[in-house]
Symmetry: C2
Subunit: 143 residues, 2 copies
């Protein structure tokens, strides 16, 4: 049975690893003046298509108020545009603009490459093992 000390130590390692990788993998974003959140929104729109803000909030695990802010800032730079639902006017669907699509299509591959490069330190079995451990921990939280 693990001690509370060991659990805490493992937790710290987990958070530090996630932080380090994230910082490392997103370093290139500053070249395009994109924040992580902005990147997250653009990426979701690219891979999942136009989406209302509620859906974006769910996908990115952020609050609704936050999404409003981030989409505001992206809209100022004309990387996305909002479109009020015709059927249900409460919804505001967020679309990539041409410029937004061009940007995220250019930036995303660099991001993916960067992550992949970092993960080459793990072999297939380790990768699978990591996924399994993370899944267990995630389930423990929901329970």
């Amino acid at each position: 049975m693990a001690t509370s000390q060991q659990a805490l130590a493992a937790y710290v390692k987990l958070v530090r690893a996630a932080d380090s990788i994230t910082a490392c993998a997103h370093a290139h974003l500053s070249e395009h003046s994109l924040t992580m959140s902005q990147f997250g929104v653009l990426e979701a729109l690219l891979h999942k298509g136009p989406m209302c803000q509620k859906a974006l909030a769910g996908k990115l695990l952020k609050s609704g108020g936050n999404i409003t802010t981030v989409v505001d800032n992206l809209e100022k730079r004309a990387l996305v545009r909002r479109e009020r639902g015709q059927d249900d006017r409460r919804y505001s669907t967020v679309h990539l603009t041409e410029a937004g699509r061009a940007l995220i299509e250019a930036v995303f591959p660099v991001h993916a490459e960067g992550i992949a490069a970092l993960f080459t330190v793990l072999d297939d079995a380790e990768l699978a093992r990591l996924g399994e451990l993370c899944r267990k921990l995630g389930r423990a939280c929901s329970a």
Copy 2:
């Protein structure tokens, strides 16, 4: 050899697990109107003793400007106090006040218990393996 897809998927799992656990483990902080950063500062001071802001920044992996803000907010609530170095007046050492010590001594055990409870889903071997995988990833970032 893992594909870029697999690496991305593993990365997402890792970040989600870290996020979920953190959110879960820090939920009780709102009862004391403490943010995660404030908790981090108090905990560092409790376990490592009084510390200058530069050291706090290093320990919490945050910018110096950020620490100034967080310590400001803790000082407003009289949970910490600053003390200018007599020898070198550039340093400002942050100390727990009586109230601050009492608070963090009450809150920390709950935090540790919470983390430990979540990690009971992993046995000793899994815990060790998780630490190992995180360490490898962390090193990959520094390199």
